[in-house]
Structures are given as C-alpha cells and as structure tokens.
Amino acid sequence: MASLKDMRVRIAATKATQKITKAMQMVAASKLRRAQAAAEAARPYAERMDLALGNIAAGMAGADGAPKLLAGTGSDSVHLLIVATGERGLAGAFNSSIVRLAREHINRLVSEGKQVKILTVGKKGNEQLRRNYEKLIVDRLELRGVRVLGYANASQIADKVLAMFAAGEFDIATLFYAQFKSVISQVPTAQQIIPPKFDGSKPAAAAASYDYEPEEEEILGDLLPRYVATQIFRALLENNASFYGAQMSAMDNATRNAGDMIRKQTITYNRTRQAMITKELIEIISGAEAL
C-alpha cells in the first residue's frame, strides 16, 4: 500500500490538474461566445448565396456553356477532400469525429476506384490523416498564427483550391467540417462545393430564365469563386465555434472527473490514516498490558 505521503502528493497533483482543466474550460467558454456569434452572423450570407446560386443554376440547367465551376467537369474520377479541423487538441472528439467522417469517404471513394486528393486545413487533421493516407495528401494549410478568422483566410484557401481546379487537378471538391449546433452537439458535415450541390427546394420548371447584367459569364465568373470562398469561410467559422464548444464540454467533464477522483483519494487517505492510528494504539496498549 502507498504510504501516506505518496497519497498526499497524488491528491495535490489531481487538484493541480483540476485547476488547469477548470481554467481551460473558462477560457473556452469566453472564446466560444465570440466564435458562436461570428458563426451565426455569417450564416444568412452563405445561405442566401446558396439560394441565389441555386436559382441561377436551375435557370441554366440544360443550357450549354455553363461554367465548369457550376456544372462540373463532366467526370468524377478525381476527388479533392478539404478536411478542416482544429489546430489544437484537448477538445474531446472534435477533431477525430471530422477525421472519421473524412476517412469513411476516402475509403468509399478508393474502393470505387476513384483517385483521392486531400487538402488538410488545421494541424490535428493532418496529423491524424497522415498516418494512413500520407501519399494522398497534396497540401496542408495551418491557421496557427491566426487570431481572428477573417474572410481573407478563407479566400486564401479558396484561391488555392480554385487554382488547382483551373489546372484540372480534380473534378469534385468536398469540404469537411463540424457544424455548430450547440455547446453539446457539433455535427461533422461533408459538403460538396465544386460543383455546388443545392439541396431540396429546386424551383421546378417554372424557374424563370434570368436577365444578366453585365454578361452571364462575367457575373458567374465573379460569383462562383466567391461562392467557394464564402462556403469555406462559413466552414471555418462553424469549425471554430464547434471547437470551443467541444473543448468546453470536454474540459467540463475533465474537471468533474478530477473532482470525483479527489474525493475518492481523500477517502482512501483518511481511511489509511485512521487504520494506522488504530494500529499504533493497539501496539501501545498491548505493550502496556505485557508489562
């Protein structure tokens, strides 16, 4: 059995750990508030843009000469997966749940005989994917030094993706991130951004053909790259909020666990101490009786 001193040291160590997790939880909570507000404020723009582009796409359906960014290259043999994760760990299952979703996609695509390329955004995703898919990773980006996520960060990533697309390096791009639902729920999401997939409410045949001012090509040439950047920006913001949400609940759990451990250790410590006192008393008394 551990000596009383060892036990005291262990209790002190657990208490120190608890202090750290508690502090991390509070930091995450305060950062979460700002990240959540930013993510929620960015949603309407991305949604309206999705809707507007969906309308335009429906209006153009079947027409020749639709830009490749909108209509696709006509092939689906090379897939680019953009996996956005956090820069840091200690956030529960946040990073690994995104990676798991990406991994399922990779395995499915590979078994279908498609070529897969991976672009990782964030250090943790890169570390986890590198283990199994080192050869598939074409590029990695990190947002380590970034303090406040801006549109500029997203358009940097978008430029890279668009340059690859222009060079014909892939046919379909899918973006992986965790959508922020609430502090306790972040949903890993896969979203196809090139060519964009519009869900649900397709305005039926009634979709009027639009007048374009200036030329259609010019507008779409401007709108589509912006669409890609907007979706990436939104994914980064959602991810950021999700990260702090996951970290906050993970650290909350850790703090509570540390509390339980301290309680158990203290009980064992007190019992042992009591047992030793009793033992010493018995020794003294039996010693006195022997006289």
């Binding site: 723009y45 843009m49 305005p203 053909s209 507008i219």
Partner: protein
C-alpha cells in the same frame, strides 16, 4: 405592392422584410425594383442603395456585391453594407487615397482601367455622403 427584400453582408443580415421599392446601384446603371420585377442577376458597383418602405426611405451604402431578383423577391449579397448614418467617412477617404496611390504606380492596361472605374465609384459615394452631411 409589397416586395420582399433581403440585404446580407458576410458579417450579418442587414435587412429583411417587405418594402415598396428599392433603388439599386447596378454595375451598368442604377435601377429600381418593384414587386413583379423580371428575374435579373447583376453585379453592384459601390454606391448608395435606397429602400422605400412605409412612406419613408432608408439609404444604405454598399461597396460592391450581387443583386438577384426572382419571383420570391430581391436578394442583395453585398460585400459590405452600412446605413449612411453609421458609415465611417474617414475609412472611405482612406480607401480612396490608397487606391489613388495604387493607380499612380500601375502601368497602363485593363487592370488600371478597372481600378479607375472603382475609384470613381468610391468618389461618387464620398461626394454623396459629404453632400448629405451638409444639409
């Protein structure tokens, strides 16, 4: 009578609701949108957007973006959108100065032409803002 109008910028939803008319600074000229407007997609130039609703009007400065008119109404995706009274005039002046410097350094070509057109739009916005401030 009522046109559904939404104005969003990447940071937030600026305006959403039923209005009578919106005057939009299109890239190829200003145009007004009433209910039942033909479907249209256009780019915006930096300029001033006027919303007519409930007898009053509201002026909003937009610095580029897109407008989409469909049977559901008008949606504007602006790069930035601020009400005239909230706008930071110094920031616009700074942008103008910055663009002028850039233009001075650039060589002849279509990029320069584009920059100069943009610069003119900014100057127009600036003039308009100074104009309204005097009243």
């Amino acid at each position: 009578m009522a046109l559904h109008f939404e104005l969003v910028s990447p940071e937030k939803l600026v305006f959403s609701g039923e209005v009578d008319q919106v005057d939009v600074p299109g890239a190829e000229g200003d145009f007004g949108v009433l209910e039942g407007h033909a479907p249209l997609v256009t780019t915006l130039r930096p300029g001033i957007l006027t919303v007519h609703a409930a007898g009053g009007e509201q002026k909003i400065v937009v610095l580029g973006g897109f407008a989409e008119v469909s049977d559901k109404g008008l949606t504007i995706l602006a790069d930035t959108a601020d009400a005239v009274k909230d706008i930071d005039r110094a920031a616009i002046a700074a942008r103008i100065a910055e663009m002028e410097q850039e233009a001075a350094k650039m060589e002849q070509g279509s990029a320069l032409d584009k920059l100069i057109t943009r610069l003119d739009h900014f100057k127009q916005v600036d003039r308009h803002l100074t104009g309204t401030a005097m009243h």
